[in-house]
Symmetry: C2
Subunit: 157 residues, 2 copies
């Protein structure tokens, strides 16, 4: 796939089952993720991977820097009646390794995702980010042009 950022060895391949432990490690390596992820037990993560991988609406990718997984995101294409029957792309579970921030990797990963969404016919990219992630919001708005127009609400079942 395309080469994000300014690192010539960085690629954005689709994640494989073998990448799941590295992706979980990225999810844990996060102030919020640390409280709700469990790096020691991969059964549920592998089941989720299989469900994601089986449905072409989803693309779970990793940011691969010369063989090392340094980032991840999940892109999902969502058909919708609203906005004129618009196909939406949704981005979830974005992480860049904390040791590799500030190197343009996140922007490169998002540029890949936005290009991929456009090439698949989406007219809108949407995401939500925890209200406490102020730096992420600034990044999405100022570097990528997202508009913080919505309130994201969640209900645990």
């Amino acid at each position: 796939m395309s080469q994000p950022g300014n690192k010539s060895m960085v690629r954005v391949p689709r994640a494989t089952r073998g990448d799941v432990p590295a992706i979980v490690a990225l999810l844990v390596d996060d102030p919020l993720g640390a409280t709700r992820e469990s790096a020691g037990e991969h059964t549920a993560y592998l089941a989720a991977f299989d469900a994601i991988d089986a449905d072409p609406a989803h693309e779970l990718v990793v940011l691969d820097d010369d063989g090392e997984v340094v980032g991840t995101l999940q892109l999902t294409l969502l058909p919708s009646l609203s906005r004129g029957g618009a196909l939406r792309a949704q981005i979830e579970a974005v992480r860049v390794a904390s040791s590799r921030r500030g190197q343009g990797l996140g922007e490169g990963l998002f540029r890949w995702a936005i290009d991929e969404a456009r090439s698949r016919g989406a007219v809108l990219v949407q995401l939500t980010t925890d209200a406490t992630r102020v730096d992420a919001q600034r990044f999405y708005e100022q570097r990528l042009g997202f508009t913080p127009s919505h309130v994201g609400m969640k209900l645990s079942l």
Copy 2:
């Protein structure tokens, strides 16, 4: 399906292709929808309906009051690696006819969607709502127990 709210004749069937004009009318019958929906041309809406209907991850339903479509929402099941590989349910494109507000219909529609999400194995229900829809946010938070924990961001392509 179950009977939401306190109206014994109200049902929540899966939408059919024949319901699309009535659903589009609901989307137009809205302060934000009025500016971005087009009730006169249904081609794109029908194509979106077909994509939604073909994928079991989606359930597009109508709120049917004795044969009249008075509401709609789209429920989507989203597998995800984050939060321990949690299956999420996402609710989009929620509308209740403006002439039928304040009768418990919206709450009934949501109770149906939350029950359906739980029965399909979701551990979280998520939605975003335009920041200007203050009444909707109060309803989701106070009546249904949603937490406004996230910022929803969108980028037009």
